[in-house]
């Protein structure tokens, strides 16, 4: 179904963007809770939603969580839909019960959903009121993970954007510092921290591992986006006077170098010093990519929209592993944040934003790619059709950024081929 179907030119790159509208085979923003609750260890995420929301998060989290998770859903029932005052009281009751059970919680996120938005449940009012009751020990932040407004990783964006107003303002005399924005796996973050320390760039990471370590912000802050899906967060940081450093994303050797280079230049690090610091890691990374490059060169790859990581990933596969992107589907194309990335793509590629999944499947089959990167709902049915797939959710949950994980990142794309070659049944 394509209510809107047109080809518009991308201003920066002149790459045509195909926009279709129809069924979207993507997660909503609530899914971000699956990694955010692990990242921020003193946080609890309470979704105000329906049974569907609860079922979605548990299906997406799947077998990964054996401990009691730091998230839950307050499921709206028939009686809650009658009046809002009642719903606010219900939130108070549920939150009190939660905090009694989990006294170690320092920040509680009230997460809006499709139903809570449709009934216009005011979660910011709830957050304010709860802060007065349970503060200052516990902070309350509200954001929306609703599918009406957010796709998959955009849930992290709305979450981080809602935390920005809670940041203290850096004192006027504070020196310039760097903020890395977007959740990274802890081992990746540790490696980047060591590199920035070696470059003598004062660095903080956002989101922090504990809410109590929420960084301060101000005009002295320069920020580097570690993830490509942070449109709202970037805007909120801009409003606090911080400046974004234009850079590619730290995927692949080239992306990581460009990303670090943007910071090095902004903080007047000598190019020779940067070279010195990253040279051993870059050598290792090139070595790690060797076999993957042999296997993947010349292969054609098709991306279904999922996490907004599609553009940087396609750039990496194209420039470092010799693959040809056929179509790069992405839920949302942030032209400004992706400007550097887009300039590195081949002009032959089709960029598509949004989705009509049935038509996209038609295009995918017609273009017979060697590899399809897609979500879990599509992967097995495509394999049955004889198409090799890489399920994209792994790209969101795994440590793949930076030099030391570049081999692992490439491995995610070679494994489906290796497996096909091995199997004789």
């Amino acid at each position: 179904m394509s209510l809107v179907s047109d080809i518009s030119d991308d201003a920066g790159r002149q790459l045509p963007v195909l926009k279709q509208r129809g069924q979207r085979e993507v997660f909503c923003g609530l899914t971000g809770i699956v990694w955010l609750h692990r990242k921020i260890q003193d946080a609890f995420f309470l979704v105000i939603g329906s049974r569907t929301c609860a079922h979605l998060i548990q299906s997406a989290a799947g077998v990964m969580i054996f401990a009691e998770p730091r998230f839950a859903t307050a499921i709206l029932e028939e009686k809650d839909l009658a009046g809002f005052a009642d719903a606010q009281e219900e939130i108070d009751r549920v939150v009190a019960r939660l905090l009694a059970r989990r006294p170690e919680i320092k920040v509680l996120f009230l997460v809006g959903s499709c139903p809570s938005e449709v009934i216009k449940l005011d979660l910011s009012r709830a957050a304010e009121r709860l802060s007065q009751v349970h503060g200052p020990d516990v902070s309350f932040v509200n954001y929306s993970g609703s599918g009406l407004e957010t796709t998959f990783t955009q849930g992290e964006d709305t979450c981080l954007a809602a935390m920005v107003p809670k940041m203290r303002t850096l004192p006027a005399e504070a020196p310039r510092s760097l903020m890395v924005v977007g959740s990274l796996a802890d081992p990746v973050e540790d490696i980047f921290r060591r590199i920035f320390e070696a470059l003598e760039i004062p660095v903080v990471f956002f989101p922090p591992r504990r809410f109590s370590e929420l960084p301060a912000v101000g005009p002295q802050t320069s920020y580097l986006l570690a993830q490509p899906y942070l449109a709202e967060t970037g805007r909120a940081l801009d409003e606090r006077g911080a400046q974004r450093l234009a850079a590619p994303f730290p995927l692949g050797v080239e992306g990581t170098r460009g990303w670090l280079n943007a910071a090095a230049q902004a903080f007047d690090v000598r190019p020779s010093r940067l070279e010195e610091v990253v040279a051993p890691a870059e050598r290792r990374a090139h070595l790690a990519l060797g076999r993957a490059r042999e296997m993947l060169t010349g292969k054609r790859v098709f991306f279904f929209p999922d996490s907004q990581l599609e553009v940087p990933l396609a750039r990496f596969l194209h420039r470092e592993l010799g693959m040809t992107p056929v179509e790069i589907g992405t839920p949302y194309l942030h032209r400004e944040h992706l400007a550097v990335e887009l300039s590195m793509l081949p002009s032959s590629v089709t960029l598509s934003e949004g989705q009509d999944v049935e038509r996209q499947l038609d295009r995918c089959r017609a273009s017979s790619p060697d590899l399809v990167v897609c979500g879990l709902g599509l992967a097995n049915p495509l394999e049955v059709e004889g198409i090799t797939t890489k399920w994209s959710i792994e790209l969101t949950f795994s440590p793949i950024q930076g030099y030391e994980h570049v081999g692992d990142l490439a491995g995610l794309f070679t494994r489906p081929f290796v497996r096909r070659e091995r199997l004789k049944v």
Partner: protein, 522 residues
Amino acid sequence: MQLSVWTYEGPPHVGAMRIATAMKGVHLLLHAPQGDTYADLLFTMIERRKERPPVTYTTFAARDLGSDTAELFKTAAIEAYERFRPDVLLVAASCTAELIQDDPGGIAGALGLPVPVVPLEMSAYQRKENWGAAHTFYRLVRACCDSSPRPPQAERSRKRCNLLGPTALGFRHRDDIIEVSRLLDQLGVDINVVAPYGATAADLARLGDADFNVVLYPEIADSVARWLGKTFGQPCVSTPPLGVTGTRAFVEEVARLVETDPSPVLEEVGRLPWYSRSIDSTYLTGKQVFIFGDATHAIAAARIATEEFGFEVVGLGSYCREQARDVRAAAKQYGLEALITEDHLEVEDRIVELQPELVLGTQMERHIAKRLGLPCAIISAPVHVHDYPARYSPQMGFEGANVLFDTWVHPLMMGLEHHLLSMFRDDFEFAETAGPSHLGASRSTPEAELRPAVAAEPGSAASEASAPAEPLWTADAEHELKKIPFFVRRKARRNTERFARERGRIPITVETLYDAKAHFQA
């Protein structure tokens, strides 16, 4: 609002998806926002289905609200029909769409599509997955079944029945169909229609041709069977053929209905009776089990555990409120009060309190049991990818009983292993740090993991916290406790502590330990 960490059942529209996906030529148009497509992966990943479920989602966004969501629905309906050409189109609203009140049924009905359009009222804020499946199946049967009275027929040489209830994403439904069909064949009964699993709209039209109905899963098919009974006078067999006793009862019931001799079929009972009587199974005697699942499987599991394994049922419950009465009645037979809840934390509390030696449950109880270091076997949905095994493994019929024996006994230690462990408990490999071999090398000290859960209980936590100066156990008694095999040690520890507290005999000496042992054995 109901606070929920994990849910046993999805929303009702997932139930509708289970029916549509099970059938052939049925398409479901779901009015839903972005994100609800997550449900596809339940079928493609967990059940490993080879095709996407036959569902089109309208995917409305914030900007559509109040303007053209109805238009969006209309376009989606037309395009879904054009692309998939189903024999029947189901239309439903997900929870969010229910709030915007677009009347999907009315809109789709007005489009003049050349196939039946069946509107579903899902009541997402009151109902759940099983209800949604039952409701969808019922609406489909009402829409497709030819209800004209059948002309009286000459006596058939073989009777025919419908097999009702198996769905997509069901727990072993795939294999139960084969097993039960085989039993019926042996009794001289042909299958008229299996529904919804594998059925078409045309199959539903001829449900009335059967002589009787077999309801495999009452949670799904009860309402359909009742309507068929009323409309065609078809009797209904609803004894679930679970376990040897259940299968026998089922065979006898069918044989009575079709007036045939059940004894040739009853001669084949499978291996469970002998395996249970073989001496290696002696150690199963009186093992305490906690059972939780859907009503049908939980009730049957309690009977099988008691009569076919010689276990003692210490807890029985279900998340199915619709069948709560049956579960309560069953629990009463074991002198228990049934636990009816959708809150898995409540289930966890009950398991911690009861300290069973085996948990029979769902995916949720598997998580709980894993945390508590307890053996667990799966008996009911909701389940995970592991519970769709490659091999044939029904739950129903005599072969199903064989499967139950293996599945339930596997997480426990075998009798001989049990015996050797107590004989050689001073051997370093059986030391407390070695951990139970059948739970894998990674589980080092199950006792240590359990202690926080035990300590967190009211009473013990307070007394231990308030009196850190006074140790609960003397060193000698603690040492003696370690001589007790680890798989009963945590129970011995707990019982002894309770015994000692009640009698003010703290710290616990070796004497207290054996006094407690005698007390609990008396």
